[in-house]
């Protein structure tokens, strides 16, 4: 029944840890893409061009409402259908980047909306350029609102990287399933994967919470998470 083999565990650990690095890389890179694209999506929805805002809005809604794993398949397989060969890594980054850009665009939007209208009006009255308005006035005030969302989605992206294994990206989950297929032992690989995820996501989540509280305190706002 319960038959944990410790020497097997130590055998596979290096391979799993190496794959973890790939996972972190995938998560980090995907998050970066999402941060940039997400801002683009958010700003695109604030332009006066009705057609553009509409299209972007519908696209964002569509991507948010459909499964990431299906989107990964779509990006990976659609390319070859039209003659474009995308590597698993590239397809994965595109899919994850687009998917989380849609989530983050909502976070950006909420952040920008949270800045009181009066601030925008003051900028107009003071004849500040659009660039200065955003840089110096609006974005600094939007930051406290968006940090929780940014933090949560960083952890979420990390936890979604296993989906990349389905198109052959050799991240942590892929390594575990490979080990399982090779050795017919599932207990240690899958448990270790779970533990490694926990070991990374829990401290990260805690750190994000502390960072939020620090940020709010230093901006003079009350604590968001009371001691439970």
């Amino acid at each position: 029944m319960f038959d944990w083999k410790w020497n097997f565990t130590f055998e596979i650990l290096p391979r799993l840890l190496e794959a973890t690095l790939k996972t972190l890389l995938a998560a980090g890179f995907g998050y970066l893409i999402a941060l940039i694209l997400g801002l683009a999506f958010a700003l695109a929805q604030r332009t006066p061009f009705r057609l553009l805002t509409h299209i972007v809005r519908e696209f964002v809604e569509f991507v948010r409402s459909t499964p990431l794993v299906l989107q990964i398949f779509f990006v990976f397989y659609v390319g070859p259908q039209f003659g474009i060969r995308l590597s698993p890594w590239t397809s994965g980054m595109i899919a994850i980047g687009l998917h989380y850009a849609s989530y983050l665009s909502e976070v950006y939007r909420a952040g920008l909306d949270s800045v009181p209208k009066g601030q925008w009006e003051a900028c107009i009255a003071l004849n500040l350029s659009v660039k200065r308005t955003y840089y110096k006035i609006i974005i600094p005030q939007a930051i406290p609102t968006v940090i929780p969302g940014f933090g949560n989605y960083l952890v979420a992206i990390f936890k979604d990287t296993p989906m990349l294994s389905v198109i052959g990206v050799t991240e942590l989950f892929h390594a575990a399933t490979s080990i399982g297929a090779e050795t017919y032992r599932f207990l240690e690989p899958y448990t270790l994967v779970g533990l490694i995820f926990l070991a990374i996501s829990l401290p990260t989540a805690m750190f994000i919470r502390r960072f939020e509280d620090w940020m709010r305190a230093s901006l003079g706002m009350k604590k968001l998470y009371a001691k439970d």
């Binding site: 409402s65 499964p67 398949f73 070859p80 575990a176 995820f197």
Partner: protein
């Protein structure tokens, strides 16, 4: 365009079959998630330390690891402990247990957003704690938590797609099969994406909004 219509005609039955399985997974997963959310939320709010700890640990573990990892663990590792589940059960079980953990935080948030004055009035009127929760606090909490639950249910629907990876024949699985035979990836996966979107946008979202309206009318708040 003509070929797409032909494509749909040929494969519609398979898409429909897959969608039905997806809906079953989503439905069962939702029921489980709601139960888990309620149980774990109240455990986490208990004043009895061991009970509270179970709630906290459950929520942190299921939120801190991937659904896919959990699903594989339930399907491949649990048999080693003597609990063998068929893939359909393992699928919605993992989905329900995972999203229930997120749901627990929504329940907790809803309850904690009820104004403190309501608790104090209930204490002043000497209402016993269980009645206080059931008759005063929870009805108000329920209305507060419906919007975020709407989002969670969409996440749940999307999460069911992962059960295809343990070979449950849902919409995702069917579209993978169709893709491998036809290689018409855009049509196949595109159709699947559209179906998910339609369910989320035109069934789930209006459904939740209708529920909100009915509940707020029934409780006559606002």
């Amino acid at each position: 365009m003509q070929s797409y219509v032909e494509f749909l005609q040929t494969y519609a039955p398979r898409f429909v079959d897959g969608t039905l399985v997806t809906l079953q997974q989503a439905g069962l997963g939702t029921i489980l998630a709601v139960v888990i959310a309620l149980v774990m939320a109240f455990m986490k709010m208990s004043s009895f330390f061991p009970v509270r700890w179970v709630g906290i640990v459950y929520i942190e573990i299921f939120r801190g690891t991937s659904l896919l990892v959990q699903m594989y663990w339930i399907f491949f590792v649990l048999p080693l402990f003597g609990l063998t589940l068929n893939k359909f059960t393992a699928g919605f079980l993992a989905v329900g247990l995972n999203l229930g953990a997120y749901g627990a935080e929504l329940v907790r948030g809803g309850i904690q957003s009820v104004p403190r004055g309501q608790y104090e009035a209930a204490i002043a009127l000497n209402l016993p704690p269980f009645k206080r929760m059931r008759r005063i606090i929870f009805p108000q909490a329920l209305l507060n938590m419906l919007p975020p639950w709407g989002n969670l249910l969409i996440e749940l629907l999307k999460s069911t797609a992962l059960v295809a990876l343990i070979s449950v024949t849902d919409l995702m699985f069917e579209s993978k099969m169709i893709n491998s035979t036809t290689l018409l990836s855009a049509q196949t996966f595109g159709t699947a994406l559209i179906i998910y979107y339609l369910i989320a946008r035109f069934i789930l979202t209006p459904g939740m909004r209708g529920l909100e309206k009915r509940l707020s009318r029934k409780l006559s708040i606002g």
